[in-house]
């Protein structure tokens, strides 16, 4: 019974979202190794794979993180699709005229933005993890692949646009998660919203400095 509950779906959405946000923070900080040069960046990539060794078999921790993230992504998408369908069923006949008075651009683009972000994740993994979608190819080092992608204007545009969409996704998502988990109230409402805006902006800025550095020739 509780599983079909719309609030339960929202909780799944919020918790899986928080897990992914924690990953995004770590990922953003890791990316900044690029400013220490190719060696540091490539070494960081190797270090991730060696994480936990020799106490654990090779790649154990990274694989665990990957599984947790995969489960989170699937749960997040399941909750979103399920709520989207519920909303469609709840209003089969659309209004002839409907005005939005409170809806932010961030919340309006949440669902389609989510679909675009999901597609982007697939591209991003093929591009920089496996290298099959990368100009420099599968044999290149992580550093060379990163630089190659951001020297391509189309790939750079894809990254920049999706990152901005992701920022908006988080701006509404963080606020919504706090509401869903019952952590917001009238007193905290402004703080929660301000935090959502500042956090999303800083996080996305942290990601955008990498393509910006390549485009402006600071990293090559």
């Amino acid at each position: 019974m509780a599983k079909t509950n719309s609030v339960f779906k929202k909780v799944v959405m919020a918790v899986s979202g928080i897990i992914m946000v924690l990953f995004l923070i770590a990922h953003m900080i890791g990316n900044l190794h690029i400013f220490q040069g190719a060696e540091s960046f490539n070494e960081y990539s190797h270090w991730l794979r060696r994480l936990g060794e020799p106490a654990l078999p090779p790649r154990t921790l990274l694989t665990t993180i990957e599984i947790v993230l995969l489960v989170s992504v699937i749960a997040h998408i399941w909750a979103a699709v399920s709520l989207w369908r519920q909303a469609k069923r709840a209003r089969p006949q659309a209004y002839v005229t409907k005005k939005s008075v409170a809806q932010s651009y961030a919340s309006r683009t949440l669902r389609w933005g989510g679909v675009i972000i999901a597609g982007f994740i697939v591209y991003h993994i093929l591009d920089l993890t496996f290298g099959v979608a990368n100009v420099a190819g599968t044999e290149a080092t992580p550093y060379d692949r990163t630089v190659a992608s951001f020297q391509n204007p189309i790939a750079t545009a894809v990254y920049v646009i999706t990152l901005i969409l992701l920022g908006m996704h988080l701006r509404h998502g963080i606020w919504s998660a706090m509401q869903t988990l019952g952590q917001s109230n009238r007193r905290r409402e402004r703080t929660v919203n301000a935090f959502a805006i500042v956090f999303s902006t800083l996080l996305i800025a942290g990601y955008l400095v990498v393509p910006a550095a390549v485009v402006f020739g600071l990293v090559d």
């Binding site: 929202k10 709840a90 209004y95 409170a102 019952g182 917001s184």
Partner: protein
């Protein structure tokens, strides 16, 4: 006589408006927007009085008058909601009956539609069946106490802060504007207002956990959408019920589920 009063030529003319109204004979047929003209509408009329003028005109012409719900016309019963130019209860944050024609300009075109949500089926034209809300209330929006003589008020002290917040939530009149304005057609603000109202008071404590799980289960059963915390509801609410109530409902629901409360099937 120098005064302009009584001089028809000098009197301020009323407004001429074009209305596009959803006409639907009954729940089984498809409806459509039909255009009507009303003339000489006073800016002091309420929106419902303007519709009364239209209906008198339609009756004189032998047409079927537009069906719309209304009762107290004082903004407290919650019967009269319609979608006006895409906004629940129109451009002001009040009920349709308390919306006045001075909110519009001469020559305006006004679209009037019923609330649209599958749990609120259209009965006729602008009137919808909101009994889904009654069933949500029946699922837990009450306290079980013996009725009779009012008890001595001082026997159950309520902190001022709690009683104020409970009262704010209790101003919900169940008009359905939250559902109508919500992009997901969710009834979350309505249910949250009831859960907050009763959950903050000592009298509401014994049934607090069961109330929230059963009311949420019932709103899902009725076919309302899920809440995505967009906030259209709170802006459309004639009583300004805050988004805080939704967070409180979620908080109560998670606590109730942890405490083992499960909805009655």
């Amino acid at each position: 006589m120098q005064s302009s009063v009584g001089n028809p030529a000098a009197e301020k003319r009323g407004m001429n408006l074009t209305l596009r109204i959803w006409r639907q004979k009954d729940p089984t047929v498809k409806g459509k927007m039909v255009t009507y003209k009303v003339t000489d509408i006073s800016p002091d009329m309420s929106f419902l009085e303007m519709l009364d003028v239209l209906n008198e005109q339609l009756i004189l012409q032998g047409d079927d008058p537009v069906a719309f719900d209304h009762d107290c016309r004082e903004g407290i019963c919650g019967m009269c909601g319609v979608m006006i130019n895409g906004e629940a209860h129109g451009p002001q944050q009040t009920t349709t009956c308390q919306l006045h024609m001075r909110s519009f300009k001469d020559g305006d075109s006004i679209d009037i539609e019923p609330w649209r949500a599958s749990p609120f089926p259209v009965i006729k034209d602008l009137a919808v069946d909101r009994r889904a809300f009654d069933r949500i209330i029946q699922a837990g929006g009450y306290i079980s106490v013996p009725t009779g003589t009012a008890p001595e008020a001082h026997s159950t002290p309520v902190p001022k802060k709690d009683s104020d917040a409970a009262f704010d939530a209790a101003t919900c009149i169940g008009c359905g504007a939250c559902v109508a304005a919500c992009p997901n057609a969710s009834s979350m603000l309505f249910t949250a207002a009831k859960v907050t109202h009763l959950g903050l008071l000592p009298q509401g404590q014994p049934e607090r956990n069961d109330r929230v799980v059963n009311m949420v289960a019932q709103q899902d059963r009725e076919g309302f959408g899920g809440c995505t915390n967009i906030g259209e509801c709170s802006h459309a609410c004639p009583k300004g019920i805050s988004m805080e109530t939704i967070s409180r409902l979620n908080h109560d629901l998670l606590g109730a589920l942890r405490a083992g409360a499960r909805p009655k099937s």
